[in-house]
Symmetry: D2
Subunit: 367 residues, 4 copies
């Protein structure tokens, strides 16, 4: 299915809609604002949610700055919690009013990629990421969910919106680092950068059974949160030789799993430098420009190293499983929701978030 | 290497030894006692430990009752913590006086099985289990360790003997259930029987990222310990329909991973009955007599089920990794060491342990 | 999605259809016949094929004999090759007239099972198998395909119907045995029974890199076909001690992978008896009655054995991949299509097939 | 075990030996020659082979050119077939006169890396590679084999030296590319460069069940050999746009597995450019200088790509398994042995091999 065609069809339907809603619209680098746009209508296999909680992601900052390209006129945001407002034809097992979580990645489940278990690459490269990228996103009062049968995850009654909203993207992404690395019980791990994704990667390494977990972070409040999320040691790269220190902490061997959660040459390279032979570099960062792979810590290609990258796993089953982890007390991400804004104030929230002010980690947005 | 030949060689060396030690010798069903026997001497690639702490295992009870056959005259026991007393030729990196943990399973690392990653089946079926099975065991003042280069795991200074002794067998075995099942973050698990192995299996399911963990156990003190080790719910099979209750707790789906930790037809069968299609039955039990596989919960062979069995993983690297888990606070098994006896009183300890008296879980034996 | 509801909806639509077609209808044990029934109509997400080639499966024989229960009135058969006749709403990328292969298993791609990679267990136990089981099947002039977006696999122009029809079920099933066993390059394999599924399992073991492949079969023409499909040795269980012979051929070690392709106690048990410690029994058979697991070759549960079962993998991506194997000359199953009948003569074909007459392996049915 | 210490001990033993042998000694860049050196003597756990066949590897060319550093005075070469001449203490199951193959990589089997299944990284980075790197190598009349119990693989009587000598390094390395990539049945593969390693990688992709295999090579005789080893198509990078052509051959999707078998920036980068989202780049090359990872085909780190590197798997079990593949006709590498020289003429052979003259692929060296 050509995403552009889908996007066009959706636009057409929307323009026929008479109801309007408030949404954050991107018009070009640093040109965003709350506007009135048509409420979407659900086509075959689609659903419309009334958003009850969403957030701003680091990727949204890249979009607003013009560093990641999306079409002007797009509503952005990709972390939706809401209530089913309309159900299109062909859906079963749902009813209007159901409270649901939808992942940032919304696979169709029915293309060659999905049927190979590559749900995030649905239909083509990065194709699973649709919200706020190729179709309208979640920073709005209503949201159209494509392939809704595969993507609406009912929220257990005992969980509040705040407890699950971060599962849509950062928790699913962060936790996937240890999963993609196939981290084993007793493995050591180093997690480079303890922003929201890195903090979730730390939690994920803990959940999967790492022994020693080393966080790398210079910001004291993030360092402290890293310890809360499961890091045993947090190294401040401004105050010590991180590579030397990690080697010292692992008896000179290096870690079994090094997680890159920032997207820079420096962290990527250091992740490789602290890796033991046969270890895995699990990369979550979004890189730009050039990335160089230093040959010496790469053992000239003879070190049995693995480098794996992961785009946020999505789909309703992933969301269900992560919600079960919250439900049974294995994971509590509410400390990461440091601030809360109304949708009308979202541009203010963007500013705070972009400037890393006030100890911000994640911002809850309430339509 | 024919184990019998090794055993004969060792016997010969021992008979030449002039020093003697106290050891628990098996002479036939229900005929065990502390005796004076020669202190072993280290041959090429071997080491002798002075035992500082050991325990009694459920398997030892089977041996004493005659249910598992070993040769009369054998010193039994297979969970050794000690200090290196003598090092044979060909060993490097160790010195007399080093405090070490040795797994119940002592792979050679150099046969076809070991070089295929099947260390527990070293040299042939169940061949990795040597102590107290094919060669003298650990319920003694001294212990000869074969293939010592692969099996002596130095204990970090900050860990006491009590903190690591249970890693040799029950923790390594118990934790392996979730590992062999390839339990994933968010999986549900049911653990049948919460004896020492089952309790460690519960801890292992937790360490590997299970969401809901259901223990099955009727003994109230074991049920309580199961909760401490990570079970969310403990079902008393004498008071409820276990299969029905597990299905209810999992919305009718069944668990992703069912762990059998007892070795009976009933628990094996129930483990299968609570398993979802595509799920894994991870079996740790030692079965005798006949085992029947009910065709209906097995979906006539069409349910994409897996049944995996695991013999305790051993070798010094496994021990090192488990000790790291203890060191970093991921695992604390000291609550399972409910009783402590001197080696001289070991027959008393056997009685207590065999009769499940006095809330006993594991018994520490101190030579 | 409740399959029964779907089935009811489909029935309703069919009854409104005015066109009729010939189809093989099951009315109860040993009561089948070609009848006029309504041509199905495509609903949302569905397609209707005009069947150009299909076959009879061993499972159909079980259905006809009443050994596997389906509802009277059902059209049976589940191996369809055809041309798209009608496309329902919500499908993209297909057009009427496309020549397609559809797997015996038709996953939705959008339920919790599918989104966990358990496509064959779509919606519940064995839920991926719909054709001729819970909805009308392929031994007809037309066939309604549910979840068509996930299940219509276009056939490359250079491949004839005869070259791909067996991929729908027996090839996908047979090949999955080595896949599910994670057979590695250099592994030895024994395949018990060389009927159509076993022959494909033999081909699969070869494709995945087995070294020595041992077939077990008494029928001389099947034995000969087994050699053609990749077996190095074929043992006639009526003329030799199969277990002893397999052990002899593997230097006493046993095979790495034992494949059961019949569904009887004897073959299941022998598959276990020839397995090395740490090996995998990959089971394809459909079992009835009681299945017993002999404790001794199972090493009392201590042999690190795995038992895995697999229901035919389906979905359009699986079909595409298998067609690529045919296209590049890796797999040629046309020798298995020993007979060919018109749809009108299908009851005759059933007889021949059920009685194993005339060297029959698979029968092509042409509407 | 510190390799240097081992090397020193061995040197000491050798200097006491009175027998001498001819061996190719490296004295510095482009300074090699046949010399008389002491015949090695077997210490504990070691064996001495009388070499009957060996070869020259591309890595040896790097050593001779001074591009890969080894100590002057070292005998080089690492692909030994021979007959056991002497057995040290502590070995069982072997006798003088046994004909054996030894891998280029000789793991101890007993260190932390080996007991983690990382045999090639025995003792530390690239530590499994000892012959002609940290200890004397195989281009000599006699060879000392360390950790002999783990490394002597008896050759089946029906196999000639010529049939197995290439398994020691290039076949084990080449085949590992598809193994490390976890290539699945039906996957497409592209293999960059069809030198000896690339040709074996092509054979490996075929053995593991690839559908379309695309070789990339400009030399016509190597292109022709690539087809013989299993490539369906061979692209000449001097005559076509390789990336465009691979995409065309895979319907625009890219390959599932891209194998790099040369060790240059260009091939590494192209391997990434032809890879589908979620695909695996399996790297065998030895890189020098800088390696850059182009961000665009890497999907900025969001493509679920994997990059895996593999150092030649060794140990006697690996050799046994590969010999079984030859024995059962799955693999025939004798066409790669294009030339044959006596040990005395080895410097001539080095010249021919380094200059890629005369269609040379691999050179057999006979002491």
């Amino acid at each position: 299915m050509a995403t552009s065609t889908v996007a066009e069809e959706i636009s057409e339907r929307e323009s026929k809609s008479k109801e309007t809603m408030r949404a954050l619209v991107f018009h070009g680098p640093n040109r965003i604002g709350i506007e009135k746009v048509p409420v979407p209508r659900a086509g075959v296999g689609e659903a419309v949610l009334r958003i009850t909680l969403t957030t701003i992601c680091g990727t949204d900052i890249h979009i607003v700055k013009g560093e990641y390209k999306v079409r002007p006129g797009l509503v952005i945001g990709h972390e939706p919690v809401g209530v089913i407002h309309e159900l299109g034809a062909g859906l079963t097992g749902y009813k209007v009013g159901d409270r649901v979580l939808v992942g940032a990645i919304t696979p169709c489940g029915q293309c060659g990629s999905c049927l190979s278990g590559q749900w995030s690459q649905c239909g083509g490269p990065i194709g699973g990421w649709k919200f706020g990228n190729t179709i309208h996103g979640a920073q709005a009062e209503y949201l159209l969910v494509p392939n809704a049968q595969a993507n609406l995850a009912r929220i257990p009654d005992e969980l509040r919106d705040e407890q699950v909203v971060l599962l849509a993207d950062i928790a699913s992404t962060g936790i996937s680092a240890a999963e993609s690395a196939q981290l084993k019980i007793g493995d050591t791990a180093a997690v480079f950068a303890q922003g929201p994704i890195g903090l979730c990667a730390t939690a994920g390494a803990r959940l999967k059974g790492a022994s020693l977990i080393i966080g790398i972070e210079s910001d004291p409040s993030r360092a402290s949160m890293a310890r809360r999320m499961g890091a045993d040691v947090v190294l401040n790269f401004q105050e010590c030789d991180v590579v030397g220190e990690v080697l010292r902490l692992t008896d000179g061997k290096g870690v079994d799993v090094a997680i890159e959660a920032l997207g820079t040459q420096g962290t990527f390279e250091n992740a490789l430098r602290v890796l033991r032979p046969g270890g895995t570099l699990s990369s979550l960062g979004v890189y730009s420009g050039k990335l160089s792979l230093p040959v010496e810590p790469f053992a000239a290609g003879l070190g049995d190293h693995k480098i794996v990258t992961t785009l946020c796993p999505g789909g309703k089953e992933r969301m269900r499983r992560l919600m079960e982890m919250v439900r049974y007390g294995r994971l509590d991400l509410t400390p990461l929701l440091t601030h809360r804004f109304k949708l009308e104030q979202i541009t203010e929230a963007y500013k705070l978030f972009a400037e890393h002010r006030d100890g911000v980690l994640k911002v809850a947005i309430e339509p």
